[in-house]
């Protein structure tokens, strides 16, 4: 039993980390990003090829891919983010969905549908504490998710940029009137979210196979975690991740994978209907940025 708990918590950390970026993009900016899974997928492939061709360890790649992603979105992709932010929610759904399709199928075209994985020194390593076993790679992700949660939380709370982001999220018009360049804020936050997601992707490579359509299941989990935890709430994403991770570990024993998805979707609707702000979101803020 305690093995299941440990597995669940570690999984929870993993889920939290892959959802953290979405929390910034959807939770804070309220941009419906249907390409979230594909961001992860691209990052995983980048890390894969880095390892395959240059023997660069994914953990190192992750630290390189993330800042590169950030720069990419701050520069090249900037006009696109602006356009995205100005579109209606349905427009965002389709733009990001379109991007997701393009990325998925580019991957398919370039890399074929084969499942690929890396075999680093530690990717199969297990640690045993008493009777409990867990994989080193997952432990690493778990620890990093804690680090990121704390870091992001304090960043948003204390730093000037963090406050600027929160102000813009709460009332874009007023933020503008107060001299905040809201466009820059949107781009920055999006880029940050994308970078965190890319980072998580790199870390996932030692744990999961990568193939073109792997994005969907991650995206689904991310959306649920973000909504369950509370849009815009950093600790909420962590807790939400834990809840989903534990649920998955405990129920994995009893129910099949597709039924698990069914349960997730039901939880999803239930939260939306009963408490759309999520566990830690501020009541009433779920409608911010929504017409």
């Amino acid at each position: 039993m305690s093995q299941l708990l440990v597995t669940g918590i570690l999984l929870g950390g993993l889920y939290a980390l892959i959802s953290m970026g979405l929390n910034l993009i959807f939770g804070v900016l309220r941009i419906v990003n249907f390409a979230h899974g594909e961001f992860i997928m691209v990052s995983m492939y980048l890390a894969y090829w880095a390892y395959y061709y240059y023997k660069i360890d994914p953990y190192i790649s992750a630290f390189v891919i993330a800042p590169l992603t950030f720069l990419f979105f701050m520069t090249v992709a900037k006009p696109f983010i602006v356009k995205l932010a100005d579109s209606s929610h349905l427009g965002q759904v389709f733009i990001t969905f379109g991007i997701g399709i393009v990325l998925q199928n580019l991957a398919l075209m370039l890399f074929s549908a084969d499942y690929r994985s890396v075999d680093t020194v530690y990717s199969k390593m297990q640690i045993a504490l008493g009777e409990i076993q867990f994989s080193l790679a997952r432990m690493v992700m778990f620890l990093l998710s804690l680090v990121f949660t704390v870091a992001l939380y304090y960043y948003l709370k204390k730093s000037y940029m963090g406050k600027t982001i929160r102000a813009t999220m709460q009332n874009r018009t007023v933020a503008m009137l107060m001299g905040i360049d809201t466009q820059k804020v949107y781009v920055f936050t999006f880029a940050l979210g994308a970078a965190i997601t890319a980072f998580a992707g790199g870390l996932l490579l030692p744990i999961f196979y990568v193939y073109p359509t792997i994005g969907f299941s991650f995206a689904l989990i991310a959306f649920i975690v973000v909504i369950l935890g509370g849009l815009g709430s950093i600790p909420g994403t962590l807790i939400g991740g834990f809840i989903i991770g534990l649920t998955e570990a405990l129920s994995g024993y009893f129910i099949s994978a597709s039924m698990k998805q069914l349960v997730y979707f039901c939880i999803f609707i239930l939260i939306l209907v009963l408490r759309p702000a999520g566990l830690f979101g501020q009541r009433g803020t779920e409608e911010l940025g929504v017409k």
């Binding site: 733009i95 969905f97 379109g98 549908a113 597709s258 069914l262």
Partner: protein, 341 residues
């Protein structure tokens, strides 16, 4: 704009040509491939039109409509396979079931705003899909159901594609007429009022819940009937064909491309995107897997980014897209909706 003039526009010469031409061409040109495309084109245009009744007129942007499509397909097929009920009757049974489910779903999810509503419809559709796979005792699961090819009018199976062309066309015209009715009726006006401003609509005496439930019932029912048509045309259904999210997104895309909230928009969208998709698939699909979808995805992207009002907005000054598909933020502040003091 008086009603007289409006009806004239809905059935103008251009419109009539647009609505009739594909059907006529399909009848005249005996090419099986061409006819197949026209039938699918009309099918999806109609599905998009049916979606548009809820999504365009009422502004309730569902991305889970494939659930209704599949419910229609499975209801009529299961009734036919298990109880020999004619699919014509099964079609109405499916429509009724879908309408009912739509109303129940609507009453739960209508209070949700914007993306939350859309995401909940997606979740719902996925739930239905997973159930259709797991409840294999009822639905035969992933194996799907094959309808034996035994032609007969009462069995809604025909040996000649001409019958399917005509039936699909009748569906398209019928749903178009429903859309025209929406554009020129109390129900339609009330839905549009809700779409533009819920508060204003309520202050004018509109029960926004009731009118939306009516719209979802009609939209779901019509979509289900199309599911039956699909089943009877392809003679094979499985969760991967009738319950997948791609269908939901396809019909929304068609409406967006053509012009959401207009009567002819979804149909124009279908005329463009369905042949485009088919063409891409046949021209590029086999050579390099995935390439045609890359192009399709790019087309989707570009159209949505640069023509939020759809193609109709290029032709008419009046479109839903112009005012709705842009985030309202800059012009007016919706915070504090009912004033401040």
């Amino acid at each position: 704009m008086t009603m007289q003039r409006s009806l004239k526009r809905e059935f103008s010469l251009v419109r009539i040509v647009l609505l009739v031409l594909p059907m006529l061409l399909a009848l005249i040109i005996p090419n099986a491939f061409f006819r197949d495309i026209v039938i699918l084109l009309m099918l999806w245009s109609t599905a998009a039109s049916a979606w548009n009744l809820l999504g365009g007129f009422a502004g309730q942007l569902s991305i889970g409509h494939t659930a209704f499509f599949g419910i229609g397909a499975y209801t009529s097929t299961l009734l036919y396979i298990n109880f020999s009920v004619s699919p014509w009757i099964g079609m109405f049974a499916g429509a009724l079931l879908a309408a009912l489910i739509g109303v129940v779903l609507g009453s739960i999810t209508f209070p949700l705003k914007g993306p939350f509503f859309s995401l909940s419809t997606l979740a719902f559709a996925e739930i239905v899909r997973i159930i259709s796979i797991s409840w294999s005792d009822l639905t035969k699961g992933s194996r799907g159901i094959v309808i034996k090819y035994t032609p007969g009018f009462d069995k809604f199976i025909f040996d000649s594609p001409v019958a399917y062309i005509l039936i699909a066309w009748v569906f398209m015209i019928a749903v178009y007429c429903v859309a025209v009715y929406f554009n020129n009726s109390r129900l339609g006006f009330y839905l549009m009022a809700y779409r533009e401003s819920e508060d204003a609509a309520r202050a004018l005496g509109i029960n926004t819940v009731t009118v939306r439930l009516k719209a979802v019932a009609i939209s779901a029912g019509l979509t289900a009937m199309l599911g039956t048509f699909y089943a009877q045309y392809i003679l094979f259904i499985d969760p991967e064909s009738v319950f997948i999210v791609d269908n939901s997104l396809q019909i929304v895309l068609l409406s967006l491309v053509g012009g959401i909230g207009t009567t002819i928009g979804p149909i124009i969208g279908g005329y463009i995107m369905v042949p485009l998709g088919q063409f891409l698939r046949s021209a590029l699909g086999d050579a390099v897997p995935g390439f045609h979808l890359v192009i399709y995805g790019l087309c989707m992207l570009l159209i949505i980014m640069y023509l939020p009002g759809g193609l109709v907005s290029l032709l008419q000054r009046r479109s839903f897209g112009g005012s709705r598909l842009k985030r309202p933020g800059r012009r007016r502040d919706e915070h504090g909706a009912v004033g401040n003091s």
